[in-house]
Symmetry: C2
Subunit: 353 residues, 2 copies
DNA sequence: CTGAAAGCGCTTACAG
DNA sequence: CTGAAAGCGCTTACAG
C-alpha cells in the first residue's frame, strides 16, 4: 500500500485556468437561474426542476440544463431559496477558545442536542476571531437565536445582535437577558469540607484573573475556606491555560514552604499544576492536593487523576436550548423580564485530592 | 460577594405567558416588515430605516416603529435581507467528533483563518449528529463551500451537497474532488529509524480500524517496520479513543512478554496506552516506548510527555481554504480535474520514545 | 422626513 | 413536458 500520490502537491495542475467570468461571460461574477435559463433556452422553473431533481422534465432537457449550469458554475442562491422555502433553523453559538478543552466539550453538548431537534449550529470563537464584534454581528445576521459566553462585552453584543434573541451562558453578573447560570457555590462548600476532613492546613487558590481583580469563582473559594478558619492565599494567573497554571505553580512552590493544597480556577490550569508538581518532585496528593473545575474527561487520563468540580454540560445545553426555543416560540419573553436557569457543579473525587 | 441569585432557577417567572400568535395576532406565526409597517401606520422602508438605525427618520416615528416591532416580536428575515445585500461568506466544516481533542484543534485553525478573511463558519459534527445525511445537506444549503472529513461517505455526501464546492480533508483514497492529503509516510520512516537506533526489538502497531481491516496509516507503519527487519504485531482498536487505547494496551501487556514499543494510531489512543502502562507498572520509555500521531498540545501535559508524529494544522487549514477560495473565485476547476495539496507529518520527539 | 416602485434569486401553484 | 405569473421579505435608489 503506497502513500498518497505527490505529483500534484504544491503544484496545482490548473495554472492559467480561466476564471469564472472568462468562461461564462457572466459580468456580475456569479450566474443566476436566469443566466442558466437563457443559456439553455428554457424557462426558470425548468432550470429549477433540473437542479432539484424534480419530475416533469424530459431527460434531454434536464441534461442540457445541467450542462449549462455546470459550464456557468451556477450555484443556487441560499437566500433566494430560503426566502421561499423558509430555510432551516439556525443556532448561533458564541464560545471563547476552541483550544481550551472545555469549549469543545460544551459545543458538542449543544451541537448534539441541536442536531436532534433539526437545528444547525454556527460557531463564533470570539477569542480566535480577529474582529470579534464583526463576527458576532455576522452571527446574528445568519441565525435565529444566539447562545453563548458573552463575558464583559455582553452589552455591546446585545446591541449588535439587534432583534436576535440571546441566551447568555455563565453570566458574570445579573444578566439583562435570558441566561443559564453555572453555579459552583454548593460544590465549593462540599470541597471545602473535604479539605478540612483530609487535614489540609494551607490551601492556595489559583484564580484566573487580572492581578487587581478576582473572579466570582475564586472569591467563592476563598470565602468558603475563610469560613472554615483557613487563611488561603489567592494567586492570580493571567490566562486560564495549562502553561499559566504550571508557571504560577512553579513560582508558588519556590516561595511557600507549607502549602498543601491548590484549588485551580479550571481543569486545564490544574493540569499545569500537576505537571509542575511532578517536575518539582512534589507528590500529589501526598504533599499537595490539587483540585480543578469543569470535570473534563481529560482529567481522568493524567496521573494522578484530577479531582474536580464537575458540571453537567448536557444539562447546560438542555437548559440553554430550552430557553432559546421557548423565546422563539413566543412562550418566553424576548426582552425585559429575564428568565434564568441554574446548573450546579458537583465534587468529583478522583486521585489528586 | 454572593453567588448567583437562585430565586428564578427552575421556576421561570413566565408561566402562562401568551404566545406570539396570541399577542400579535399575526396568523402565520412570524411578523414581517409588512405587519410592522401596517401596525405603525408607515411604509416598509420607514420600518427598514428604524430597524437598521438609518438616517432620514424622525425620532418620534422611529420610536413608534420600534415599539410596534417589539410588540410583534418582529425579526427581519435573514433571507430577505441576504437576497438584497448579498450576505456574508459562509464556510461549512464537516468534522468527526468534537470530543476528540484533534477536532477542535483543526476546527480552531480553520476558524481563525476563515475569520481573518471575513468568513463565517458553520460546523457539522457528523459523529454527534443523529442524522448525518440531513446535517450535511443542511450544511450545503447554508454555505458557499464545504471543507471537511468525509471518510467513506464522501460519494453520498458529494451528491447531497449538489453544486456546493467541496474540499476533502485527509481522503482515504484517491479523491474525486479537491483535497488536502495529510501524509505521515515521511515521518513514519524517520520514526522507524529512530526506533532502530534506540534498540527497539518488538514493536506493536495499535491501529484504529475494524478487525478485518487496516488503516492506511497503520499499514504504512507496519510496512516501514517490516522493511527494517521487524515482525510487528498489528492490533485493531475499534474506537480511536483513550479508553480504547487503554483497554487494548492492558490486553497486549497481559499477553506479550517481549513488547518494547507501541505505535498508536493517534495521540488520544496513545494517552490511553500511557495510562495503562502506568497502571501496570510498566515504565515508559524504559520498558516500552510509546508514540502517537497528531501532535496535540495535550501530549506535552502528561508524564512522560508524548512523542508523536505532528501535523501542522494551520498549514492544513491554509491549504484547504486556499483550494476552497480558489474554486469559488473560478481560478480552480469545481469538478472533473481534481486539485490536491499535501501536508506532511513530522516526528516530534518528547519523552515517551 | 416619508413613500411608491423596482428588484434581489428562487420556488410554488396554475395553465397549457 | 413546459412556461407565464405571482410572491417569498427585504433594501436600494428615486421622487416628493
Amino acid at each position: 500500500m503506497a502513500g498518497p500520490p505527490r505529483l500534484t502537491s504544491g503544484q496545482p495542475s490548473t495554472e492559467g485556468h480561466p476564471t469564472l467570468e472568462q468562461t461564462s461571460g457572466i459580468p456580475g461574477g456569479r450566474a443566476t437561474i436566469i443566466d442558466v435559463a437563457a443559456a439553455a433556452g428554457v424557462s426558470r422553473q425548468t432550470v429549477t426542476r433540473a437542479m432539484n431533481g424534480m419530475s416533469g422534465i424530459s431527460a434531454a432537457t434536464k441534461q442540457r440544463v445541467l450542462a449549462e449550469a455546470e459550464r456557468l458554475a451556477y450555484r443556487p442562491s441560499r437566500f433566494g431559496r430560503g426566502l421561499v422555502t423558509g430555510g432551516d433553523h439556525q443556532l448561533g453559538l458564541v464560545v471563547n477558545d476552541l483550544r481550551n478543552p472545555y469549549t469543545p466539550q460544551l459545543a458538542s453538548a449543544v451541537f448534539r442536542l441541536a442536531a436532534e431537534q433539526g437545528w444547525n449550529v454556527m460557531l463564533a470563537d470570539v477569542d480566535l476571531a480577529s474582529d470579534a464584534d464583526r463576527m458576532v454581528q455576522a452571527l446574528g445576521a445568519q441565525t435565529d437565536v444566539v447562545i453563548g459566553y458573552l463575558g464583559s462585552r455582553r452589552e455591546r453584543w446585545r446591541e449588535l445582535l439587534g432583534t436576535v434573541p440571546m441566551v447568555e451562558l455563565d453570566p458574570y453578573s445579573e444578566p439583562q437577558t435570558a441566561a443559564v447560570w453555572i453555579d459552583p457555590a454548593d460544590a465549593i462548600e462540599v470541597l471545602a469540607d473535604h479539605l478540612v476532613e483530609t487535614g489540609v492546613r494551607h490551601p492556595v487558590v489559583l484564580d484566573n484573573s487580572a492581578p487587581d481583580d478576582t473572579s466570582v469563582r475564586g472569591a467563592l473559594m476563598v470565602d468558603a475556606l475563610r469560613r472554615r478558619g483557613y487563611l488561603p492565599d489567592l494567586v492570580h494567573g493571567a490566562h486560564g491555560t495549562a502553561e499559566c497554571g504550571a508557571e504560577e505553580t512553579t513560582r508558588i512552590l519556590g516561595r511557600k514552604r507549607r502549602l498543601d493544597a491548590i484549588l485551580a480556577f479550571n481543569d486545564v490550569m490544574a493540569l499545569g499544576v500537576l505537571q509542575s508538581c511532578r517536575r518539582a518532585g512534589v507528590d500529589v496528593p501526598g504533599d499537595v492536593r490539587v483540585v480543578g473545575v469543569d470535570g473534563l474527561p481529560l482529567g481522568a487520563l493524567v496521573a494522578p487523576t484530577l479531582t474536580t468540580l464537575a458540571v453537567d454540560l448536557d444539562a447546560v445545553a438542555r437548559e440553554a436550548l430550552g430557553l432559546a426555543l421557548g423565546m422563539l416560540a413566543g412562550e418566553l419573553p424576548l426582552q425585559g423580564a429575564t428568565v434564568q436557569r441554574t446548573v450546579r457543579h458537583s465534587l468529583l473525587l478522583r486521585e489528586s485530592a
